[in-house]
């Protein structure tokens, strides 16, 4: 997970700023004119059906790739739906309703059989590519094969490869394996039908096929890694031009037919994205009204924060939770953190308020966290196993510190210990967070040295490599996590399940391999009863917190700006608390 | 007495003199970190057209400073120039910069010691002559070019029409000095100052250049100041000789007098250090002992006294009182406390036989 952008955040129940907000923030009162502060969090603002105009996006960076089969970024998943239609997608809208999975290219949600191991979808008829070709189920199969099984497509997630039954010998992907049959576990009995065969029962496959990897790619038009600059569109817009590092421009797909697409409005005539723009400048232009949307969807820059919170701008600002948990993993194999008491001591002695402030405070940083599951995820249960109190002058109070010292005593390290804390060098706020933690732990004698690694190699080369962690004695690792697929299982399995410990690139940084937790997760995903699953996730959360291996720091939040002329602006939790781009238009 | 002579009689009157060039009580001082450097300290002389004055002295005696002073090339910011310089009835010291500039190159020109460093390395010889000519003559480039070629031819440069487009570094030393002379003479100046014109050249070339200067002087009828430390050059070319020491004139005489009956011990020293081939090796040179004086703390009395072998013949006078430049014989002046007869005696008995 190099990029830690949430693809999907699932939250059936709890939405919006939770009651956990520790200090300030979160007031929803609107002042002045305009739709009001936080108006876009729970409802779509500026609803409109007016067509025409040009919708202008800007991004301070670039796509990993706009190729729907070779992308991981949340904004990319959100945006790709403008030029491609996957089997399912999330309902366009704001807040709660945005988490509902709806059929898109498929006429209906999947039907499962075989106890959840086989999933069948029927495609809508009459869906055409921008070149006039007809979309078939074979194109969907091909898209999944190329995105998950080829060497060339490395950037996207590989969940289909992980869950689908593999060929024997292992399938090498359509670029090497020229056999027409392809992956045998995806069947296309006719042009409108596609059937997936999974290794294990998987109750929430509809969420998985909402990923852009099911957006059809006609085999004849596939140019591999160069496809990103010659994308064939199945959505309402075609890609006229994509120049890496510069821009993308979209215009209407003449072969798109509204009658086959009940969820899209396709309002603007043109959509433009400027890339590699200066982040501060993007904010300035948003405020000035010369730009419609920051494509990245991670909020305004710190420098802009005071400006957007001024009375005249505040009504155009939303402050949603982003579905991230920022937390610190305590590696259970690095001494003395192999001792649960030492871990609990860290739980108490970590000043979360300082960490929160270091990350930008309650508005731009997030709400104080006490659980692994964020409040916006289904299964979240409010609890706090290691309660902390702040002293009046800042910092943890004596009682909290006393508890930490008591645990240190129990751990056999009464005077504290020394270890390392890691953070990503190119994320200054994360480094700031590490410093805040370092400072607060020092009060109980726990001395930590900060080690930094580039974000690009953080998991693949450093903290995601258990050997490296053990060799270098890195006991604490800061990271952030959002669900890759929309269930509590998706959120937890990759960070606390023993199977997620990998020789390289793993996300279970704590190396937690607790049989109880593993079993609870395995049971949950096989359970077709949604309510039971949801309940289980909360309990697993408590189990995990009981091990004290994860120190939750903040539930991430961001200050989002929606310019006046943008219509149908609503925060979608499906893509991590950014605006839903699907039906956005301009006045 | 026509020709050249120190102009003591009219000095400081502010009235225009009758002679072509008259320098009156010229003082050129440089204030520095270490004190006031008196490079020229009260120098006076006259010069008529068609005549040549040789100024001799060791390095640092103020020869070159004087010549640059006449041309007005000292920077007013770091040099204090006082006294009077009259050229053709015009006073130059107090004249405006522009006025003096107009005279430079046209009425008075200068030939420098090292023609390589004195010519701009980036421009052709022709271009530099043309430039000099066109500053003072409103003519087209073609006309100026013809003039330049003409001048080069006159100073004896072969194939002047080709050489005109060469750069200074493509010329040999002698040719370069000829070109320099051509440049100096391009505007037909009435006063030509040659500052060590042959020092940087081979001996054979030296003679050619001196011949050339003499010929050209006759042709242009200009007044020439020849600055050198080489008495041989002076003997060859000059009508009169002015010996400088520590910024002042110590002896002034016609060439004949200066060589045959010099009156100043310093002049004797200069003559003694002149190499001569017709003498025995062992007694050939009699260099002046000691080194040139500081121009900041000029020795008291006679500036030459620390090096003068005869200073004890006069009691304390030599280091308490500065000798004035007085006319000992008609047209022959010297600044020395020794009585006239004693000088004659020393010259005839001690110095002359050794030369």
């Amino acid at each position: 997970m190099n990029k830690m952008r949430p693809i999907v955040v699932f939250a059936a129940g709890v939405v919006a700023a939770s009651g956990l907000a520790a200090c300030g923030g979160g007031d929803s009162g609107s002042s002045g004119s305009g739709p009001g502060y936080n108006a876009g969090v729970n409802a779509v603002v500026n609803k409109s059906d007016k067509k025409g105009g040009t919708l202008k996006f800007a991004h301070s960076d670039d796509w990993d790739s706009p190729d729907p089969g070779n992308t991981y970024y949340a904004f990319s998943q959100n945006f790709s739906r403008l030029y491609g239609r996957g089997l399912t997608t999330f309902k366009p809208g704001a807040g709660k309703e945005s988490l509902e999975v709806v059929p898109d290219l498929a006429a209906d949600l999947g039907t499962s059989s075989d106890g959840g191991k086989t999933w069948t979808y029927k495609l809508r008829t009459g869906v055409k590519y921008d070149d006039g070709g007809t979309v078939t189920s074979k194109d969907v199969k091909y898209a999944v094969e190329r995105s998950n099984f080829t060497k060339e497509m490395q950037l996207g997630p590989k969940y289909f490869k992980q869950y689908l039954v593999d060929n024997k010998p292992a399938y090498k992907g359509p670029y090497e394996d020229k056999n027409d049959e392809g992956l045998k576990s995806i069947e296309t009995p006719d042009d409108q039908t596609i059937v997936f065969h999974l290794k294990e029962p998987f109750a929430e496959f509809d969420y998985l096929v909402a990923m852009s990897q099911t957006i059809p790619v006609p085999k004849a038009k596939d140019t591999g890694t160069k496809y990103e600059s010659a994308i064939v569109s199945s959505g309402p817009y075609k890609v006229d031009n994509y120049t890496r590092g510069k821009s993308m421009s979209l215009s209407r797909n003449p072969n798109w037919n509204q009658s086959t697409d009940p969820i899209r409005k396709a309002l603007p005539d043109k959509i433009e994205v400027q890339l590699k723009q200066n982040a501060d400048d993007i904010d300035q232009r948003l405020l000035a009204g010369t730009l419609d949307m920051d494509a990245a969807g991670v909020g305004v820059q710190s420098g802009t924060q005071p400006k957007v919170l001024a009375a005249d701008q505040k009504p155009y600002v939303d402050n949603p939770v982003q579905g991230f948990l920022r937390f610190m993993s305590l590696n259970v194999n690095v001494k003395p953190l192999d001792n649960v008491h030492c871990r609990i001591a860290v739980q108490y002695a970590t000043d979360k308020v300082a960490a929160q402030t270091a990350y930008g405070g309650p508005l731009a940083g997030g709400d104080l966290a006490t659980t692994v599951l964020p409040p916006s995820v289904d299964g979240y249960t409010k609890f706090d196993l290691y309660p902390q109190k702040q002293a009046s002058g800042g910092g943890l109070d004596e009682a909290t510190l006393a508890k930490a010292k008591q645990e240190l005593q129990a751990c056999g390290q009464p005077n504290g210990f020394t270890t390392k804390i890691s953070a990503r060098s190119d994320r200054p706020k994360e480094v700031a967070m590490a410093q805040a933690i370092q400072q607060s732990l020092a009060k109980v004698g726990i001395k930590v040295n900060i080690v930094q690694f580039p974000a690009g190699d953080y998991f693949n080369k450093y903290v995601g490599v258990p050997k490296y962690v053990h060799d270098h004695g890195i006991g604490m690792m800061i990271m952030a996590w959002a669900a890759d697929w929309p269930t509590g299982y998706g959120f937890l399995a990759q960070i606390v399940h023993g199977d997620a410990i990998k020789p390289s690139g793993g996300n279970n940084l704590a190396e937690l391999n607790d049989p109880t937790v593993n079993k609870a997760l395995n049971d949950a995903i096989a359970n077709t009863d949604k309510a039971a699953r949801t309940k289980a996730y909360g309990e697993i959360d408590k189990l995990v917190m009981g091990t004290a291996a994860e120190v939750p720091l903040v539930y991430a939040k961001a200050l989002m700006y929606r310019p006046k002329r943008v219509t149908n602006a609503g925060i979608t939790y499906a893509y991590g608390g950014m605006y839903d781009y699907l039906n956005m238009g301009v006045e | 007495m026509t020709g050249t002579a120190p102009a003591a009689d009219t000095a400081g009157t502010g009235e225009a003199p009758t002679s072509f060039l008259e320098v009156r009580d010229l003082k050129i001082h440089f204030p520095t970190d270490d004190g006031l450097v008196k490079s020229v300290d009260g120098l006076s002389f006259q010069l008529e057209r068609g005549r040549t004055l040789g100024i001799v002295g060791e390095s640092g005696s103020g020869k070159s400073v004087t010549s640059l002073g006449i041309l007005g090339l000292h920077n007013k910011r770091n040099a204090n120039v006082s006294g009077e310089i009259w050229l053709n009835g015009k006073e130059l010291v107090n004249a405006s910069q522009t006025e003096v500039r107009r005279l430079r190159g046209r009425d008075m020109a200068m030939i420098f010691q090292d023609p390589l460093s004195a010519m701009h390395p980036f421009y052709t010889v022709g271009a530099q002559i043309i430039e000099a000519y066109r500053v003072h003559n409103d003519v087209s480039k073609q006309v100026a070019r013809k003039h330049a070629i003409d001048m080069l031819g006159r100073v004896g440069i072969p194939k002047p029409d080709k050489r005109v487009d060469d750069y200074p570094h493509q010329f040999s030393g002698g040719m370069r000095q000829r070109a320099m002379i051509a440049m100096a003479l391009s505007c037909d100046p009435e006063l030509l100052i040659a500052d060590e014109p042959t020092t940087a050249l081979d001996v054979t070339v030296q003679a050619q250049i001196l011949d050339l200067i003499r010929d050209l002087q006759q042709e242009f009828n200009s007044a020439v100041i020849m600055i050198t430390h080489d008495l041989g050059v002076v003997a060859e070319l000059s009508d009169d000789i002015l010996v400088m020491y520590a910024g002042r004139c110590v002896e002034y005489a016609s060439v004949g007098d200066a060589f045959h009956q010099p009156l100043h011990p310093y002049t004797w020293g200069l003559l003694g250090s002149m190499p001569r081939l017709d003498r025995e090796r062992s007694e050939r040179l009699m260099p002046i002992k000691g080194s040139p004086p500081s121009l900041i703390n000029v020795p008291s009395g006679c500036a030459f006294h620390p090096r003068c072998p005869y200073k004890d013949l006069n009691g304390e006078k030599c280091w308490t009182e500065r000798p004035e430049l007085v006319e000992a014989e008609p047209g022959h002046k010297a600044a020395c406390h020794l009585p006239q007869d004693k000088k004659r005696k020393i010259w005839t008995d001690e110095i002359r036989p050794k030369l």
Partner: protein, 330 residues
């Protein structure tokens, strides 16, 4: 690559007869170079001011940290949680009687303490790096200038080659490549060591060229000739005759290299490869100021001015020193 340019005929460049010719040579030789330099320097008020500031800065770097607050102590209560910046003070700087230069946004750490501790890092790294450059540069410069021939050619080409490298990029890469725990060092000790070596190593040609030039001209001087003709060994000539005469230029260019290295260190810190937090560094503070400078300009101005004043002071002093020791180089 260096052009094998040959200038024809310029070797005869005669000195114009100096206006000052005749100033008593003995008198000046009577005073040592140091005395003359000191005399000149005393009159150069600007350079003296620079020197004064340099001395104060060095004292601050050495002793300042004993008097300031702890630069790592958080003052969360001074931070406005909504805007994540100091609640009070001019331009939300948090400047107050307790915090003369205000506090850091987000943490409330005392800026004065951070600047003072930053000075220590900045000066330490730049001094040591300068030392490395001077040692390498002097050795290479002397060797090249003294031995000439192919030795000179090789070293000179190497110095030219260094100038054709994008050094900043290499420095960043090198600092990044050395992972924690390399060479048996870790943490800031290692990082400072790497910074010193990288900065020092990349700046040596600057000194090397000057020393080479000086050595070349010294080699032609009489006393070196004399020593050699008397059969002195090369090493003797180098250390006893040549090196002492290079002290002045080495001193001058070291003084002028220090500010360059301060800027280099700050640039590396600015680009995120400086000392490891929480150790304060000026460049690092500027990095954190970048996203907020439009709303909290003081946080940018304070470290920026710290760099500026320090570098300027060294430059003024070094410049004056050069003029004093070698007025012709002006």
């Amino acid at each position: 690559m260096a052009a094998p340019i040959e200038v024809t005929g310029s070797d005869t460049e005669a000195q114009p007869e100096a206006v000052l010719a005749g100033v008593d040579g003995k008198k000046i030789q009577g005073r040592s170079l140091g005395q003359i330099a000191w005399m000149r320097l005393k009159r150069d008020k600007v350079a003296l001011t620079g020197a004064l500031v340099v001395i104060v800065l060095i004292l601050i770097a050495i002793f300042g940290p004993f008097f300031t607050q702890n630069p790592l102590t958080y003052h969360q209560n001074l931070i406005d949680p909504t805007y994540n910046r100091p609640k009070t003070g001019f331009w939300h700087s948090g400047i107050s009687g307790d915090h003369w230069l205000g506090v850091e946004p987000g943490t409330g750490r005392d800026m004065l303490a951070r600047i003072v501790h930053g000075a220590r890092i900045s000066l330490l790294v730049s001094f040591l790096a300068t030392l490395v450059s001077v040692v390498i540069g002097t050795v290479m410069g002397i060797i090249a200038g003294y031995f000439g021939g192919w030795v000179d050619y090789t070293i000179s080409r190497a110095m030219d080659a260094f100038l054709a490298f994008p050094l900043l990029l290499f420095a960043i890469a090198l600092v990044g490549v050395v992972s924690d725990g390399a060479f048996g060092f870790s943490g800031n000790g290692l990082r400072i060591g790497v910074l010193v070596m990288v900065i020092g190593f990349f700046n040596w040609p600057y000194i090397g060229r000057i020393i080479r030039g000086q050595t070349l001209s010294l080699r032609e001087r009489e006393f070196v000739d004399a020593a050699r003709s008397m059969g002195a060994r090369n090493s003797y000539v180098l250390f006893k005759e040549v090196l002492p005469n290079l002290v002045a230029p080495i001193l001058v260019y070291s003084t002028l290299l220090i500010p360059t290295n301060i800027l280099f260190e700050a640039a590396l810190s600015f680009l995120g490869v400086g000392v490891i937090p929480p150790t304060p560094s000026w460049g690092g503070m500027l990095t954190l100021a970048v996203p907020i400078y439009s709303s909290d300009p003081m946080y940018m101005i304070i470290p920026g001015m710290a760099i500026f004043i320090t570098v300027l002071a060294f430059n003024l002093f070094g410049d004056g020193l050069r003029d004093a020791l070698d007025p012709r180089a002006k």
